[in-house]
Each structure stands twice: as C-alpha cells, then as structure tokens.
Symmetry: C2
Subunit: 376 residues, 2 copies
C-alpha cells in the first residue's frame, strides 16, 4: 500500500522477460508506437507522447527545461515536497517564479490562482503538482484553469506524477499543454519509465526553442519519432515492455471504471480509518483519491508502527516526508488497489494500533468501509 | 551480436522478477549498496559510484554538467557520432571546446593530445570517448593521459559507455577522475541503468559547485547516499536487480579473465572476417576489442545483408551510424561473447555473402578463428 512504487501485476512483471531486441529495429517500432499511442489515450490527448527512461522527476524536469527560458514569469501553487521541488526547477531554469504558498495539507484556492493571473498579465505559464504525494492533497480545479491561461495564451503544465491513470485527466478538453507521470504509480508498472505528453502548441515551441541539454531534450525525441519511430537514446527495453502491458490492462479495464475504482477505494479508506480514530492530514476539500495521508495519534511512534504493520501483517505504508517525518503516514491507493486491499489495510492498521495499546473501533471501521465498497 | 543492447543471460533477466520493494527501506539499501560497491570494483576505483536510472547518454551528460562551467577549456578527441555528441554537450555546458578531430576509423595520437596540452596550459579537463561505438575504434593510451593532466591538476573524464567491463579500466591507477558506462553493453545487463564513478577530487568539486538541474545533479545523489544509502529519485528497481546480478557474474568470472575473453574473441572476429574478405573499418592501431566495424564489399546492400543474416541465421548485427550508413556494419563483441558466438557469426556472415553471390573463403576463416580461440 505504498504511494509508489506500487504492486505490479504478475502479467506486467512477466512482460519484462522478453529477449533483448535491437532498439533500431521493426520489433522496437511495434513496441514503442503502441506504448506511445496508448499513453495518449490515458492522458486523453491528441498530442505527442514521449516515454522517457527515467523516474518521474526526470519527466517533470523535461517539462520545465523545454518550455521555460530566463525571465519567464510562472505561477505555481506550492504546498509540499514535490511542488517545492518543481518550483526549484523552475527557478533554476531562470523563471521568475510566483509561488502561491499554502500550508501542507491545503491547496491554493482557484480564486487565489485567478488573483495571481489578474496581477500578472504577462505570465508565460501555469505549473502545478496535481497530486502532492508528500501530503495526500490533490488539486480539484484542473478543468477551470483554461479560463485563465486562455486570456494570454499562456502555457498550462500539469505534473501528474502520482495520479494519472487513477484520476480523470482530460488534457485536450481542459486545455493542458504538457503533462507527465511515472509508471510506478497509478499505472502499476515498475519504476523507470515516465511518459510526458505534449500538445501541438507546446511541441512547436519546444522544437523552435530546444534547450541546450541532451537527455531530456524533447525536440530530439520528436525528431527521432517522426523520422523512424525510434528514441534518440537506448531505452530501458524490459521496462517498456512492462509499461505497455500495464497500459493494456488500464485500457482493458476501461479508464472510467478504473478511476471510479480509485475513488471508491480512497473513500472507503478515508471513512474506515477515520472511524478507527485516525484523522486525515489533508483538509477535506483537498484530499487526494490516490494517496491517503493520516496524522499519527499522540505518542504513536512512526518506525514501531510501520514496522509492526509490515512484519506482522505484511502491509507496507510510507512515512512522512521532510518536516512531516514522524507526524503522518501515507497509504497509497493506486494501481491495482481493490476491495481486498482496502479491507486488509484497515484491519491490519486497527490490529497494529491495538497491539500497541490503543483502543480502536476496528469492527465499525470495517463495516463503514464495506458499505462504501459495495458499489464497486 | 549487436554492439548493445547485448544478450542478457537468463539469470540476469530472472533477477528482474522480484516483488516491488520500497525504495526507502532496508531491502533497498542492501541492494543498492551492493550494486555501488561492485560497480567500483569493476571500475577499479576507490571513489563513489552512482547508478543512474537512465541510458548511457544520461550518465555522460551527468559527467559534463557536474564538472564544466561557462568558459572552461576542455580538450577532446572527436572521430565519430558519440565523441561528437560529447563535444556538443561540452559546448552546451559553456565550455571552450578544443576538438582534436580525426577521420572516422582513426584516433587522435597521444602526441596530438600532448601537443594540445602543451598549447593550452590553462585546460580544465580532458574528456574522451574511450570506445567510439559508431566506428569500432578505441583509444589505447588511457594510462598515459595522467602525465598530462597532472601538470596543472586538470580533470580527466572517460566516457566508457560501450566498453567498461570488456576492457581494462584502472580508474585510480590511471588517474581518471570520472568515468561512466551503460549496463546494456559489456556488462550484459538490460539497458536503463548507467553507472558513473567519481573520485574524491571530482566529488569535492561537484559538491561545491552543483549544477542548477535536478535529475543528473550528482551532489544530490552523494548526499542521499551518505545520509541513508538511498537515491534521491525512485530508481528503476527491476533493472537494478538485474544490474547487480550482472555485476555478480562479472566478478565470479573474474575481471582479468573476462577482459582476456573479449580480447581473444575480437581478435578471432577480426582475423576470421578478414579472411572471408571483409576489411575492418578502423585503422589497425585503433581497433576496438568490443565493437568490430567492417566495410561493406562493393555492391553489398546493407538492408538485404543484415536482413538475410537475421532471418536465415538469427544473427543480429548493426548498420552504420550517420554518414557511415550503408558503408559499414558493426558486430558487437561484448558481454557474454564466447567461442560459439564468434564461430557462428563468422559462419553465418560467410554463408550470407555466398547466398548473395559473393565468393568467400569461409572454411579458412573458421580455421583461422578457431586457432585464435584455442587459448580461451
């Protein structure tokens, strides 16, 4: 139940065991083109997709250095580790970064974003971390940003690293120019492939203004793809096979059904764990449907709790990040998550708390969760 | 018989099928520390190793952007696609690049390098592509460069992407500050992990002058490793398991024996294929022991030749790169290469040529190769 890397279905793991092929061959073209096209389906984009052999941070960095030049004005909400990291990358790229900072667990409101746009008519781009994995918060107004970026045709970039494939993303419809994720999150593939999707407008800009770097230079990827459907550098072939298999599983389940499953499971986790006596870290209107962060009870020690949970019940959850270390723990609700995972997790957390001397209402918690899961 | 990605032993492939672990756990520390320490053994370095989740080009770029600042003077021999690419990256990093250009198939002589050092007393670094995969040439004076870099304590960086693990590299002894490779070459692991090894002097510089980028920022990797033996970003876990297994196989065989095997096999390939009537592309004193590039015979069409070889005999070789497309083909001699591969390849190439109407002396070629392979 980690918020990434998540459990990988055996079918996806097995796909890695494919004899080595030449990445300059027709076999590769068949594999890569398929992965690219299916990625676009999940992002609901008619643009271009590049499957980078890197972690999600690599794809996010590509989304920064290919679009931002010295002095560009950028608006970004910041409320945790990953949005802070993105703001840092924007700053390094030379941007004039306007940070909309809120406390961890809260999101900048749409009104605050609108105000920033009102005050900065010359903004070049809006960047946001859709799902702040470090705190379990999620921005829920992605569909409304277009009203602001359309004013001066500024760019709209969504870092969707831990959430694409688990929540709805309509790139074309919502006017998003660039978005990316990591395969090891809601796609339930192994880590190491990170897709970035770019619409025609952003692609044109990137091709006309390529960065002076090599590995994350997207115009180079576009050129190779157009010429031969190859990648410029040797890709992580076994991971690409796994990634394509994971995409097949997503599309076989159906995007809508998959997103509904994530929502129902996270709803059951929030309800069940609240009934046990744990409080969610994120404010109610900002709660993520793929990462459930919970405050530790008074005196509940992080390492002891998580070790007991892992050793006695084989349930892995993550600790807090940065300042939140020891204060919260995080339950992933992504990828393969289903009834069984939710019930087992609530049961194991309840039992662990009882073993550590807390009184909980586990049975009620399970009933509450079961009720929520009925519609699955 | 590709010059990468090379065949991956089943034992290494199987290592990928390990259930997903938390990359912030003791399980990960055990895996990663082991991979790091064994990487250092292969590079014969007492420095620090970072296993990047990226292709070899990513590791090479890390070797540039962490060491080179605007205006730094750098000497680099250029004789093909990959050395050209490295010179490009140095230029992008703002370096004053002194290119020692030679024709493809030839190397700048040690005397030419010495002259460049004589004429540029303020040089900051010497970079070289040890093995130019695009042309099958190899620099054979790596051990002598220290005499030049020691004059003003300049840095010495070796791009060993296609050759480390197949040829001798004594980082410490030869005074090399930074070196890197890709797992899918002479290590015989799948592509996607690329180690970079940095000695104490270069590490100190990198920590004091970190680049304004995220994914290839080595000081960040050093910091995480010192604090917790973690990596800053989610690593490509299945590939790390495979990589570690490949390192085990290298060390079980023994580095010396492995290098000797590569040398004997390439010697047999050069002798055998020359006897068939094919001429090596590289000049004799510049021939690589891990990539054998051969000129096409007059009228021999690249695609037909390679397709016949692949379809009738299941032997994969690579075409030429850039300007050399259609003029040469390249046989990898790396990783698992042994007697059987050499004999089968010579036999299959001879038969393909005969099927295409050329007269060859295949039987003699096999005898010549067999003689060379006897000492294995």
């Amino acid at each position: 139940m980690l918020p990434g890397p998540t459990n990988v279905p055996e079918r996806v793991m097995r796909a890695m065991i494919t004899p080595t092929i030449n990445h300059r061959s027709d076999d590769f073209v068949e594999l890569y083109e398929d992965a690219v096209e299916k990625t676009k389906q999940v992002f609901q984009s008619s643009g271009d997709a590049v499957c980078l052999s890197a972690s999600g941070t690599g794809a996010v960095e590509a989304g920064v250095i290919n679009l931002i030049k010295k002095g560009d004005k950028v608006i970004i909400p910041v409320n945790g580790e990953f949005s802070g990291r993105l703001a840092q990358m924007l700053d390094w790229a030379g941007a004039n970064v306007i940070k909309l900072e809120t406390k961890p667990g809260q999101n900048a409101s749409f009104e605050a974003v609108k105000e920033a746009f009102d005050n900065n008519k010359d903004v070049k781009a809006f960047y946001c971390v859709w799902n702040e994995t470090s705190t379990g918060t999620m921005i829920n107004y992605l569909d409304k940003i277009k009203n602001l970026t359309s004013r001066n045709d500024s760019y709209y970039v969504v870092d969707g690293v831990s959430i694409v494939g688990g929540e709805e993303l309509q790139m074309d419809r919502w006017g998003i120019d660039v978005a990316m994720t990591g395969a090891q999150k809601a796609f339930a593939a192994p880590p190491g492939i990170s897709p970035i999707v770019v619409n025609a407008k952003a692609k044109k800009y990137m091709n006309e203004n390529p960065p002076k770097t090599m590995y994350f230079n997207l115009s180079r990827y576009f050129k190779y793809y157009e010429e031969s459907k190859h990648t410029p550098f040797t890709p992580a072939l076994p991971l690409l096979y796994a990634y394509r298999e994971a995409l097949d599983m997503i599309l076989e389940e159906g995007l809508d059904k998959r997103i509904r499953r994530h929502r129902i499971c996270s709803d059951a986790l929030y309800s069940g764990l609240s009934t046990i006596g744990l409080t969610p870290f994120a404010k109610e209107d900002a709660r993520s449907t793929v990462v459930v962060a919970l405050n530790y009870l008074d005196g509940l020690e992080d390492k002891t709790f998580r070790n007991t949970l892992a050793q006695k019940f084989r349930v892995l959850v993550a600790g807090g990040f940065g300042n939140l270390k020891g204060k919260v723990f995080r339950v992933g609700c992504m990828g393969e998550v289903h009834r069984y995972h939710v019930m087992r997790t609530i049961s194991a957390i309840g039992s662990t708390l009882e073993m550590m001397g807390y009184r909980t209402s586990s049975m009620n918690a399970l009933k509450v969760a079961e009720e929520k899961l009925k519609v699955l």
